[in-house]
Amino acid sequence: MAATLPITGDLFEENSAKSRPAELSSEEDYSDTLKLRCDGTTTHIGRDQVSVSDPLANVPRRLVFSDGRVLVTRDHQAVAEIFDQGSGANLTSIVAWAEIFRPRIMVILILLFLASIISLRFALPVAVDVAARMVPASMEARLGGVAFESFDLILKDSELDAQRSDEVRALFDEIVGASDIDFPVDMHIRQGGFLKANAFALPGGPVIVTDELIKLAPNDDALAGVLAHEIGHIEERHGLRRMMRAAGWVILVSVISEEASGLFEEVAAFPTLLIDQAYSRSFETDADDRAIEIIVAIGRDPAAFAEMLNLITKDCGQACDGVDWLSSHPAPGDRIEHIREYGSGGE
């Protein structure tokens, strides 16, 4: 091949800041040997004795020779002709090519960026759910146990009479039996206090029901609906999956915003919060569906569940932001409607 343009730059001795102007060129006939000219001296260097830094915009290229000397050059064209040509397309060169600013390509990249953010919302849960399957039930139960200990500290013991609480326990066991859960699940009845009429399920473990909820229920079918909903959460491991999805998002957002940087980390946390609410709403709908299925399986009336939800909404009042019900949940009206439809065989 014909001689190419020489690479000119500063040649440094190994471990030294001393530099002299030098020139590296490719021999006329043997392109595997290169000629290094500096201060009148010429050295022959094999191409494989030179290690070249990756191309990146117009950052100077470093050519490190096997004898320790270094040639620093801004002759990007010449370096590309002598070195980059031969090695073919590899990941670094493709990336470097893509990075060159061309307005049309940039618009495409921006659209791709927006599209990937949106698809992450659906892609991440899939990846996280796979990971969640590897978490053993015992570890999940431990999580729930630890959380329960905290709740137990602030909730007072139930004031329900023994007969009623036995009835509720029996109902609970009936529901667990009709579900796909194959491990024992405890139920604890406590006074709600600030939680009012409420029930919530902890990961892998106990379900807490408040006195107020039991008293609010017009009949056992209505109560069964609520209990079945909570069992649905445990069955589908919603607590664990929601936690892991949030953690996955936090990590992803922090990694991305480290790239983006300059933003408050708090601003970057905002989308995590919103997405977590969205995932939570879909989990709630899943639990509602599961509740209907279980209620129907044990021969109770699903309409009572919808009615119960109505009662709870009214009882909670305007400023309601309970632990489970009515926070990060679909709007009550929509939920009740969905439950009625699902229950009557629609959807």
């Binding site: 990146l56 940039m106 960026f113």
Partner: protein, 391 residues
């Protein structure tokens, strides 16, 4: 034939100086300002960096974060490689794999730390307590890695701090600062700066700085003044909010907290939002002022073995303005103007720095290479510490 093909870059123009004899002329010749002082210049620009930035982002998202290690290398190489001291630019030498390995280790450790709370409260306490004596070691590792990966004129920097020094300035002094109600913080900052600089080396030459503690205290009180000013300004929207809601709620005498809260309109919340915004701006301004004044103090006092001196002339107000306007622009463009913001900030900072060699700059010699791990530096990044050096 071809003489030294120096890039055709003009200096910032010689500013007429008093006729002192110039220091030893450097080999790179034409780049000082006539008095031997070498300016630092940034040759990068926003559109060039935009390409790198957006490709970084896309690949990071596509690989669910794994590419971020290589993205970091490209980002650092772009900024370092386009920053020149005299005729020669800096280099960032870490490889993507080094950063990646460091991140994996850091990630595993942090995951274990946060998972410990699910094992038992004691486990979490234990894990947190372990972290405190580990912290100086981690900071040293981070500084060592960052230094070792930075090069100028074929010579690497290095950091040789020891555990006890780091424990003193990064753990003991900040704790003392807290117990003294904040009064010892400026002293802690000055001691930390001294510790870092005197353990920094350029090749075999050692750095040293003894910045004036008074300047740190001045910076501290000035930035508190800025915060107080912001606090006073904040009172305006807060007063408006309270007065407004008092007038609206005065009719509902005896109403409980819930009803009052429910009746607050959007006007109230937007006033609160304005107040928070004023506070945030004040906080940023105060921290930038502190940064500018303390960094000037340290760099102006910085010396490198061989009689080399340095200069820094950052303006706190300008830095605050740039930082805040950057944030606003980036926010309103959904992040897309971040490359513009980053290059703008970097360009301003580098334009305020300079070096005056006291001896020919080609006499520096590097030491033998030693292996360093990226783990400490990556752990620092995970946790949000900025353990960068210099710029």
């Amino acid at each position: 034939m071809s003489d030294s093909s120096q890039p055709v870059v003009q200096t910032l123009g010689s500013v007429p100086q008093s006729p002192l004899p110039p220091k030893h002329r450097t080999d790179s010749g034409s780049h000082d300002d006539g008095n031997g002082k070498l300016p630092i210049e940034f040759d990068g620009n926003a559109s060039e960096y935009f390409g790198i930035w957006i490709v970084n982002l896309l690949l990071t998202i596509a690989t669910l974060g794994i590419w971020s290690a290589w993205a970091k290398v490209r980002r650092m190489r772009y900024f370092y490689g386009n920053t020149r001291l005299g005729a020669d630019s800096f280099e960032f030498l870490a490889s993507g794999w080094q950063i990646f390995r460091g991140r994996i280790i850091a990630f595993v450790l942090l995951a274990a730390l946060s998972a410990s709370q699910y094992i038992s409260p004691w486990a979490q306490l234990f894990a947190t307590l372990i972290f405190i004596p580990l912290f100086p070691w981690i900071v040293n590792l981070a500084l060592r890695f960052r230094a070792r990966m930075t090069m100028w004129r074929n010579i690497r920097f290095s950091f040789k701090g020891n555990y006890w020094g780091a424990l003193g300035v990064f753990v003991a002094m900040p704790i003392a600062g807290i117990f003294s109600g904040g009064l010892l913080f400026p002293l802690a900052g000055q001691m930390a700066a001294k510790y870092v600089t005197k353990n920094f080396h350029y090749g075999t030459a050692q750095f040293e700085a003894d910045p004036d503690v008074g300047k740190f205290y001045a910076a501290f009180f000035i930035s508190i003044g800025v915060m107080i000013g912001a606090g006073i300004l904040m009172m305006i929207p807060i007063t408006a909010a309270i007065v407004g809601s008092a007038m609206a709620g005065s009719a509902k005498k005896g109403a409980d907290l819930e009803t009052i809260f429910g009746s607050l309109g959007p006007a109230f919340f937007s006033m609160i939002f304005v107040a928070i915004f004023v506070y945030a701006v004040g906080f940023i301004a105060a921290s930038q002022v502190y940064l500018a004044l303390t960094r000037n103090a340290v760099i102006n006092a910085l010396q490198l073995e061989g009689g080399h001196r340095f200069a820094s002339s950052l303006s706190g107000t300008k830095l605050a303005w740039i930082t805040i306007s950057n944030m606003v622009v980036v926010l309103f463009t959904a992040g897309l103007m971040q490359p513009w913001a980053a290059t703008r900030l970097w360009r301003y900072q580098t334009s305020c720095y300079g070096a005056t060699p006291g001896a020919p700059i080609d006499e520096f010699v590097d030491e033998q290479r030693e292996a360093v791990s990226a783990f400490g530096s990556e752990l620092g990044d995970f946790e949000g510490f900025d353990i960068g050096f210099g710029i």
